[in-house]
Structures are given as structure tokens and as C-alpha cells.
């Protein structure tokens, strides 16, 4: 396995040599972890985030978590210190879901600088307007740590600087660690649980029929492929919809993807 030693650390087989400056940055992270270990409220977490944000040389933080929209108590965690006009504009334009940084965080597990977003997702004209508007309202570049917990809606923890300023590169690994732990603290404080819906799972045949629908096949085509009658395929779809309490076929395909019965690779790279 190829090991890329970075930032002057020891390579393979050597004792890890950690420079003094880096020790300091881990100490910064540990201070945050100490503060949040006993946190029981969002206010305590917000205060800890504000402190670490400043220590790392960032101006803004934003921790957002969207719970499963199918959950009965839709609850959105949002801790931030963004400028008020930017937040108002953001909400007026309902960007919680479509914000380009949020969308980019869906395609990776590792933290990323916002400068990389155009190489991660396709940006629309509206996205460019969002980024320009953020700069006008005082939010420039940033670093976002995605958080994906199976069965829960995705979230992220971001740190940002003002326009024209650079993300403090030295603290990016700290921001990664802090973001990861902060998100978990937010889950704990707000008692976010995996939404594990009761009820029977799909059968193998139901799953197969949904998969072929996802691949764009009609019931007749699916019937030919699976060696079933068209009527049987229709029955499988109907029963799958009933099991997941889904009104129609497009929604059934999306739900099957969300629940992990089928995955994108099955659909696009069979």
C-alpha cells in the first residue's frame, strides 16, 4: 500500500514525528472535545463551536442536520453564526436542500474546501448566484465536513472566512476532526436516532422489479427479463408500494434507493 506522508510527518516505519505547531492544533481540537463531551444543550455546543472557530482562524461556523423528512417530528438542527442578512436570503430562497455546498457534501465523506465545489457537482447559474450572494453578505471561502449516517438525513459542519481571506490551511485537519465530533454531539444532544421503520421489508422479487423499473424498464420489459408475466410484475410493484406506503412508481424507486434496497451502482453500472 502506498503511504503518502504529509506535512513533514514520519513515513512508513518511522516513528511519527509531530512538529510542535501541529501538537498545538491537536490540543485545540481536544479542548473542543472536552467542552462538548459533557454538553447537554445546543447552546453549549454553539458556544464551543464559536470558541473553536475563532481558535482555528475561521470567522463563521454552521452545523446543520436535516432529519428524515418521513419522520413524524421533522426537526432541523441548525447552529451557526452567519450574518443575519445572509441567513434571511438563504431561507427566503429555500436553499436548505439545494445549496451547492450542501449538495457537494452529498458526494463525499471527507471534508472539502468550497473552492473545490465546481469540480464536485455541476453548478447551475442559480448556484453561482448563491455563491456570489454569500460573498456580498460577508461569507467567502469555507471548509465543509459532510456527515452521512445511514438511515438519517445528511448533514454537515462548515467553517468559513470572510471574502478575500483564505481558509487557514494549517487548521483544516483540526476542522475535519472538530466537524466530525461536533456533528455527533449534535446528534446526541438532540437525540437523533436512526429511523428504522417497522413493517415487512421487500421480498427479493419485489426488489428485482423495482430495480428494473429504476433502470427504465416497463413492466412488460421487466416481465421478459425476469421470466414472469406482466401481471405478476404489476402485482410485485403494487405490493412493494403497499409495504413501503408509497403512492406511485417514481417515489417507490426513490424510496428503495434511500432505504438501500437498491443502490446507484446497481442502476447505472449493472
Amino acid at each position: 500500500m502506498h503511504i503518502k506522508a504529509n506535512r513533514g510527518s514520519g513515513g512508513l516505519g518511522n516513528a511519527p514525528s509531530v512538529d510542535a505547531e501541529e501538537m498545538t492544533s491537536l490540543a485545540v481540537a481536544n479542548e473542543f472535545l472536552e467542552l462538548t463531551r459533557c454538553a447537554t444543550t445546543n447552546d453549549q455546543l454553539r458556544d464551543a463551536l464559536a470558541t473553536i472557530c475563532e481558535s482555528m482562524g475561521f470567522e463563521y461556523f454552521a452545523l446543520t442536520h436535516h432529519v428524515d423528512p418521513h419522520a413524524t417530528e421533522a426537526q432541523v438542527i441548525r447552529l451557526h453564526n452567519y450574518p443575519k442578512p445572509w441567513v434571511e436570503w438563504f431561507d427566503d430562497h429555500r436553499l436548505g436542500v439545494s445549496d451547492p455546498v450542501h449538495r457537494a457534501s452529498r458526494v463525499t465523506d471527507a471534508g472539502f474546501c468550497w473552492a473545490r465545489v465546481p469540480s464536485m457537482i455541476k453548478l447551475t447559474a442559480a448556484d453561482r448566484e448563491v455563491l456570489a450572494m454569500a460573498r456580498r453578505e460577508g461569507v467567502g471561502d469555507g471548509f465543509t465536513v459532510p456527515a452521512h449516517i445511514p438511515g438519517e438525513a445528511s448533514g454537515s459542519c462548515s467553517f468559513a472566512v470572510g471574502p478575500g481571506k483564505e481558509v487557514p490551511a494549517h487548521y483544516v485537519p483540526v476542522a475535519q476532526l472538530v466537524g466530525t465530533f461536533a456533528f455527533d454531539t449534535a446528534r446526541r444532544v438532540n437525540r437523533i436516532r436512526c429511523v428504522d421503520t417497522e413493517g415487512p421489508p421487500l421480498t427479493g422479487r419485489q426488489r428485482d422489479c423495482v430495480l428494473w423499473a429504476a433502470r427504465g424498464k416497463t413492466n412488460w420489459e421487466t416481465a421478459q427479463i425476469l421470466g414472469l408475466s406482466e401481471e405478476t410484475v404489476m402485482q410485485h410493484h403494487k405490493q412493494a408500494r403497499e409495504r413501503l406506503d408509497i403512492p406511485n412508481k417514481p417515489m417507490l424507486v426513490v424510496r428503495a434507493l434511500y432505504d438501500g434496497y437498491i443502490c446507484f451502482d446497481d442502476v447505472f453500472r449493472p
Binding site: M1, I3, S9, S25, L26, D109, H148, G260
Partner: protein, 206 residues
């Protein structure tokens, strides 16, 4: 669901072992594209699969692999000290009460719900095993996405150092404290074991 706890020295031809090494190949090589050795293009087996390793393997009633994890003693060469010492700020934790969790593997033939059930049972089994064997803490290396999930299990985790880019991956090292309280912490985080009392369905291979 059945749990087998066995040292690496036990019957290498055992069907359960073969099915675990096959599943590991599908997960770590085919799915996650790790650069690790593959035996006979079917089995993922590396230099740490020795008689010193301990395996926790979950199987269905027919003996098919559902999930597994490999524990390495930390007084001997293991993943963290051999491959990724740079992930630890200080010295790599080692000793008779410290074991490294490696190759946590959920069989990809299961759907999300089944994987979740297997995962929860395996995590509970790891905690129960540690309590039974006097293991006070586990260590482990994980990619950041997986590390976030490990935290979400609700047990008591601490970072051993800052995350680092290793090749194409961003890795972090963790230590997980195991105490009498751990099973309760897991339950509080929503993890439910499919094996009612972990001791009951355990098949201790020689």
C-alpha cells in the same frame, strides 16, 4: 443469527472462514477498492490474518456470512503501528487490555435493513467480547465517513490524532473505551442486538 468467536488458528478450511474471506474481498477490494492482497482472486487475506488474530463472525441459520470483524493484539504488529503510525499523535496504544478492530465487514448481499441489524449485533458482540476478555479499549483506523458512523454508535470514542490524507483517503485513528456502561450506551444510540444475550448463541471454536 449465530456468532462464532475464533482465533485465526482454527480450521482454516472451515466454510465460515472461507465465506468471511470471500465477503471481505467483495467489500474491501471490489466495493471500497482498497489496495490489499487477494488470494486466488477470491479471498482477501493479509499479513495480519494469523493465529494471533481473533475473529467475530455472524452467520445466518444456513451458515452464510452476514458480518465479521477481526481483532488484533496490540503487543504484536498490527495495522495502526505497522501501516499508519502517523495517525497517532503520541505513542500507539498497546498492551494486553488493548485490541485493534480491523476488517469490520458487513456482507453486501444484505439489504440496508439487514446490514443494519447485522452491524448492531456485531458492535454489541464486540462490546460483550471485550467485557468477557478484559479488553478495556479498542483502537481502530477508519476513513472519515466510517469514523462518523463509529461515533454514532454512541460508545465512548476519542481521537488518537488528526485525520490525515493517505493516498486517496482521509483516515483517522480512534480509541474506544469499553466499560460495563458500553452496552447501555449502544442501546441508547438505538443499536439493538439480534442475539438476545450475546453469550447464548456464541459458538466458541477451538
Amino acid at each position: 443469527m449465530f456468532l462464532t468467536i475464533t482465533p485465526g488458528a482454527a480450521a482454516p478450511d472451515d466454510a465460515v472462514f472461507r465465506s468471511m474471506f470471500e465477503a471481505r474481498k467483495r467489500v474491501f477490494v471490489d466495493l471500497l477498492k482498497w489496495d490489499v492482497p487477494v488470494l486466488g482472486s477470491r479471498y482477501e487475506v493479509d499479513q495480519f490474518d494469523t493465529p494471533d488474530a481473533t475473529y467475530l463472525i455472524l452467520t445466518d441459520d444456513a451458515g452464510n456470512h452476514l458480518g465479521s470483524a477481526r481483532l488484533l493484539p496490540t503487543q504484536r504488529p498490527h495495522i495502526l503501528d505497522t501501516l499508519f503510525p502517523q495517525l497517532c499523535e503520541g505513542s500507539v496504544p498497546s498492551g494486553p487490555g488493548v485490541q485493534e478492530i480491523t476488517r469490520f465487514c458487513l456482507d453486501p448481499r444484505q439489504n440496508a435493513r439487514q446490514r443494519r441489524r447485522t452491524r448492531d449485533t456485531l458492535v454489541h458482540a464486540l462490546a460483550a467480547h471485550a467485557l468477557a476478555r478484559g479488553i478495556a479499549r479498542y483502537t481502530g483506523v477508519a476513513e472519515m465517513g466510517w469514523l462518523q458512523q463509529i461515533l454514532a454508535f454512541g460508545w465512548d470514542c476519542e481521537p488518537l490524532g488528526l485525520p490525515r490524507q493517505v493516498g486517496a483517503r482521509l483516515l483517522g485513528a480512534l480509541t474506544i473505551a469499553i466499560t460495563r456502561d458500553t452496552p447501555r450506551l449502544l442501546e441508547r444510540a438505538g443499536l439493538v442486538s439480534a442475539i438476545a444475550v450475546p453469550g447464548d448463541a456464541v459458538r466458541h471454536a477451538a
